[in-house]
Symmetry: C2
Subunit: 284 residues, 2 copies
């Protein structure tokens, strides 16, 4: 196995390319604390969540970011589209408009569309996927006129039963083919590392669509389907190999730490970020 | 949504097409008890496991089966190919020969190839998949000369980290394309129900490759990645829709109940089989 040959084009990761997604510290840091915490570690690319952003005036968040030379990668999120009865939520588009306005005010690189799914209340996955696509089309129309890029993200098949009906990168590429410009794909290793089509579909997405790269790890054993992610290096994901594919496909954006984990959420967030940076530079 | 139109070609399921996989009652019934238990419920198609089969002489199992007009669907299994260091296990081919002999003696429709994976000991998924294919090729050569059909089965991506490197039906179809005849695919709804390519890949497999159809259900929430399967009707899988695709693609084999579940393993197996038959006829 000449694995090294596969990696030779992959430049070492540097701190200036690293990002942190606010979900990583969501339990113990409020919005302001998190921005100051990331700034302390010289992190320049921040993935924000709208529920956190709402803790301050948007302009105050922007000032905080500017003061530390920080940029917003992706603003999470508009959606879910489905209400609790498994049908379309009538309030989705109004909320999408607010999300687009916030993305503009924060100068975010992108705005995440999170469709959710009709399951388990409406057990028709084809219906869920069609409706998810239809409402993405509507949101895109609004976003294009505001010059905001919408991104979608395949989520792991194990949460297709209750969290998201977008489950593979091929499916997201198909949706992008169908809906045209203004749309990108975020690749989170946790959701896609197992996919035999991963390399091919990253290349299919290419520089034009690849709009985010999230890192963490898949633990063996995994005991929680939602918040059981691992710290980079503690699991089985070949982070550097996948980053290599992203870069060979033309991706030049940030490498964003995003760890949903009951374990790490309990620990001192400052320690977690320090360790995550070390691990990212070592393993990704 | 005119869902009914999609189902109109799907004939109601009948008891004579139903099968039971021995894993469903593995905790509380030994081999002989399980065969007599399934016979009592008029089940004619039985998925056997080699560790259970070893409890009796193979010829005694065959006599038991014959006495009740029962046929073996699939004999589980040869593999895993990987030893605990993540490399190929030197004993695999010897064991495969024994498995082939047992499949012949039991007149089984097929013999399952279970590659396992090199992870987490050897974190190179491409290596694991290549080695899994190479050893399938070797096992196929042995099986063809004994006129035994080998089957492969995509297992859910959530167990790609430790249990199997075959994770989608597309991947299994690609392997079949590469290795030629004598090879079939078992479709277990639990592992594939979420796949946006499921219908297309079932049709791609077609009558020649489709060699088994397993039913159970995906629970929301799912709390155990290995033995947390649900009873048909308790989860979110559209069993009848998927069975319709199988049959439209030409599959005419049995519909096999296979429930890996700590919950159901604790209950009276006779009650579980009775309920599972009722649920299968109602929902699948």
């Amino acid at each position: 196995m000449k694995i090294s040959q596969k990696y030779q084009l992959t430049q070492p990761l540097t701190l200036k390319r690293l990002g942190v997604n606010q979900a990583t510290t969501r339990t113990r840091w409020n919005h302001r604390e998190s921005l100051l915490g990331y700034a302390k570690h010289d992190i320049k690319h921040i993935g924000l969540w709208r529920d956190k952003v709402l803790e301050l005036e948007v302009k105050d968040t922007k000032t905080l970011l500017n003061n530390h030379g920080m940029k917003v990668t992706c603003l999470n999120r508009i959606g879910p589209v489905f209400s609790s009865d498994g049908e379309a939520d009538a309030t989705f588009l109004e909320d999408a408009k607010r999300g687009i306005d916030e993305a503009v005010a924060l100068d975010a690189e992108s705005l995440m569309y999170f469709p959710g799914t009709s399951l388990p209340n409406n057990k028709n996955l084809d219906f869920a996927r069609q409706l998810a696509k239809d409402y993405l089309d509507k949101a895109l129309e609004l976003a294009r006129s505001a010059n905001v890029k919408i991104v979608i993200e395949p989520l792991h098949p194990m949460i297709a039963g209750d969290r998201s009906c977008l489950n593979t990168i091929a499916q997201c590429n198909d949706i992008c083919d169908g809906l045209g410009g203004g749309l990108g794909i975020v690749v989170d290793v946790y959701h896609v590392w197992w996919d035999p089509m991963l390399k091919a579909e990253i290349f299919r997405a290419g520089a034009a669509r690849l709009a985010g790269f999230h890192i963490n790890d898949w633990l063996v054993p995994t005991t929680d389907l939602f918040s059981g992610r691992g710290m980079m290096g503690d699991g089985v994901i070949e982070l550097r190999k996948i980053r290599g594919w992203m870069e060979q496909a033309g991706y030049r954006g940030s490498v964003e730490i995003e760890i949903f984990s009951e374990l790490w959420w309990q620990k001192n967030p400052d320690d977690v970020i320090k360790l995550a940076i070390d691990r990212a530079l070592q393993f990704a």
